[in-house]
Amino acid sequence: MTDAASAHSSQHPPYLAHHFTDIEQQNESGTLGMWLFLLTEIMFFGGLFASYAIYRLRYFEAFREGSHLLNVKFGAINTAVLIGSSLTMALAVRAAQLSRRKAIIAFIILTMVLGIAFIGIKLNYEWSADYHEGLIPWMGFHVESPNAAGVRLFFCFYFFMTGLHALHMVVGLGIMCVLLHMAAKGRFDGGYFAPVEITGLYWHFVDIVWIFLFPLLYLIGGRY
């Protein structure tokens, strides 16, 4: 078996897995796999978005109140940071297509810096402030309002959804560490860049989730 396998693999470029007939099939399979995975992610977040929508309609005023307690300024800055990271991610894919190794590494690092900046702003300026203001539903929640119960539900969704989103970013950052390692070893060139491209798809998806979260959580107050 080992003889057959080595004879077999010698006919292929090293990045082509043994069970694919050509690199095109391998790339298409990887991309389709990631799109399908993103479909499951849409359904996963979709369950939360649907639940959000139901409570938003039931506690309309309370959700508006809750939204006003969020810091729109930092939310907006973070939106810009995240869109910027999508741009650098797209540039990393382009650099990989053009076989520019240093540029790949630079753009992936830049993407990671922006991603970390997003999480940093969220933790340092938003979630910690929420904690001090008593907005975390399970840690000394305290809001003076006749709608306090509804506001509490709003913050449940706020923390579950932004928390889950942040968790996806952390996973993305972990994958980028692997990419960085692969890029440093010179594994990517114009003939093989599927991992960069597929990670890009994932990262853009995480970005798009935020594009939906930002207005639904920060802007529904209607005062801006």
Partner: protein, 546 residues
Amino acid sequence: MSAALAEAPPETRVHYLNADYGIKSWLLTTDHKRIALLYLGSVTLMFFVGGAMAVMMRIHLIDPAGALVHPDTFNKLFTMHGVIMIFFFLIPAIPAVLGNFLVPLMVGAKDLAFPRINLLSWYLYIAGASLAVYAMVSGGVDTGWTFYTPYSTSYAHSQVMATALGAFILGFSSILTGLNFIVTIHKMRAPGLTWFRMPLFLWAIYATSIIQILGTPVVATAILLVGLERLFHVGIFDPAVGGDPILFQHLFWFYSHPAVYIMILPPMGVISEIVTCFSRKKVFGYHFVAFSSMAIAVISFLVWGHHMFVTGMSVYAALIFSVLSFLVAIPSAIKVFNWTATLYQGSISYQAPMLYALGFIGLFTMGGLTGLFLASLATDVHLNGTYFIVAHFHYIMVGGAVMAYMGGIHFWWPKITGRMFPDTWARLAAAIVFIGFNLTFFPQFMLGYLGMPRRYATYPAEFQVLNVMSSAGASILGIGYLIPLVYLFWSIRYGPIAPPNPWRATGLEWQTSSPPPTQNFEIPPVVKEEAYAYGPPGSELEDAHD
């Protein structure tokens, strides 16, 4: 014994089973065929664990006052029976065992698109199953497999978290398996294997995979919220602080009704393969059977509300869900009629796989038709929460899915192991399963119609005769499942050597040797004919299989 050993010719050919030895060659394998066998071992173990719980319940219910266990233990038994049988046996059984083994062979590929992810799926399954078993031995869980809120979130003091986490992790396994199949079917079909030349098993697996990747994430959301609720008590499902327990039911059934089709679509694919082969006829209405799988997958997402007719839903929503539920009967009936039409004027032979397939057609039809009683609003009010429901879904799940799984295991056993099973024993076991099954579950239709509620540890004395009949049937059914366990194990060592195509069947998996080599085919196959090119005995088409 030594005579049998001496008769067996020395193994000279290298195939996937003897290409490598040792525990590492199994636990780190990325060969889809070996992973299928890992799954076969795991789901069989879980099947008998879940089955043991069913046996305990049936013994308990021999006496109206309860004969065996404390009522609390009874709650845990039916919960764990449901969790194990649904999440850890029925959902993975046919896709992860037969699908894993057959999808690359049937498309003519060397492996699934993502072999390492395939192995990861198995480890996720094992992690989920370990948590469920941990929950079982550390006190059990008593919420029912449905984890209904607010009981599961606020009141249950059993191992809800461990069980829910197990189901959550298992979901990833299910998603990754489905994703792997879809990509493989899209991208890795052999030259000449167009969509409408694919075996119907592949269509069924494809439809199943779509449900797996679209439905499973939503139940993950539901389970996640239950978990967060138990951790933080924030009240998302607690009406006392503005939450809505019904929301959980919507999220749960949005997956768990389609999950029924995850369990029954692959069996339908297996039946299409078996019925055509043992009728020696091309399947009647190939396109209709293929598209009916897709139709079931689509409609399955629109009917979840029929689980909630009596739990608080607007009458108009209920009306629509009722109508949509009736629609599922159409593609299901298309399949049954087309299998029957395939049998018509076929040269039928009654080998063991065919007995299971014929059993499936009858029992699935009964299970499906009684489903219509439950999709009707008025009758559902009477039958909801009774043994009628228990009988209905066991006709689908055991009479349907398990029968087809057994049929499929027998049909492809020669390909998987390279050995034939003893046919007489296999036919006997199939007959025992059929008789035992009907004796177990038909009385439950009557019990439910008479008003006996499900999930109760005791019952009024007038129901005893039917309950004793059901328990007697369960013991016969149990024997029917144990016999194959014995002779299939026996056949691995002592069964006659199987030829590459013992049933003279069509399909790429039969064109390679039994068991197949690690890379599946010595020469990459090219498909030149339609699926199921069977013909009458003596015809040119038929002789081509010899």
